[in-house]
Amino acid sequence: MKNFYIFLAIAIVTTALTVWFVPGVDDFVEVTFQRYLGQAARS
């Protein structure tokens, strides 16, 4: 499990940094979120 926690910590930090700094990634996340949010709101 220790290795999993290390992997998870690295994955979360990498995800946050990628979304914040890599152009277009934040928009991709928002588009994807919008799709699921719309479906959830209609249900």
Binding site: M1, A16, Q34
Partner: protein, 176 residues
């Protein structure tokens, strides 16, 4: 039992990755001059502040979305817009669903303090949002909305509270 707990930890841990992505994107947008899509943006800063007589709002019926910022809280979002009988309207659907009420907080905030700034085609307009729940104007505005958008907004959905409709009126004291 121990293996079940471990599996749960792994599932929840992996779920944290997309949650982090969404939270980061939403948080980042708060520092931007306006919204992008669904995440609220920061205050509308750029763009000339409109001064002058009340515009002919019919041009907004050719515009897909506008940006709107409330005075309190000073966050902005992208919303649909329509004009009917010379008046400007914005609205929010899904107000009768749990997800909708969690997602769409601005209508409640606008009911408490309707002072807002709209940015349309790069120009900012100071307006006062007044909720409309009934009245003869509903037939005209719902017809425009239905023609413009794939929306189920009708007189009935507005009167029942499924859709919250606001007239974006001139602020009292503003040039009109």
């Amino acid at each position: 039992m121990k293996i079940v707990v471990r599996i749960l930890i792994v599932i929840l841990g992996l779920a944290l990755i997309p949650v982090t992505a969404v939270a980061t994107a939403a948080f980042k947008q708060r520092f931007e001059d306006g919204p992008n899509r669904v995440f609220s943006g920061g205050p509308l800063v750029s763009g000339e502040l409109f001064q002058g007589p009340e515009p002919d709002w019919s041009f907004v019926n050719e515009i897909p979305t506008i940006e709107m910022q409330l005075e309190e809280p000073a966050t902005s979002r992208r919303i649909w817009v329509a004009s009917s009988a010379g008046k400007l309207y914005v609205w929010s659907g899904y107000m009768d669903t749990t997800v909708g009420r969690l997602w769409k907080q601005w209508p409640v905030q606008a009911s408490e303090n309707g002072r807002a700034v709209l940015r349309i085609d790069g120009t900012r307009y100071e307006r006062q949002l007044n909720r409309v729940q009934s009245g003869p104007e509903l037939d005209g505005i719902t017809a425009v909305i239905s023609e413009k958008y794939p929306s189920a907004t009708t007189r009935e959905t507005i009167e029942s509270g499924q859709v919250w409709l606001f007239e974006a009126a001139p602020r009292s004291g503003a040039g009109s």
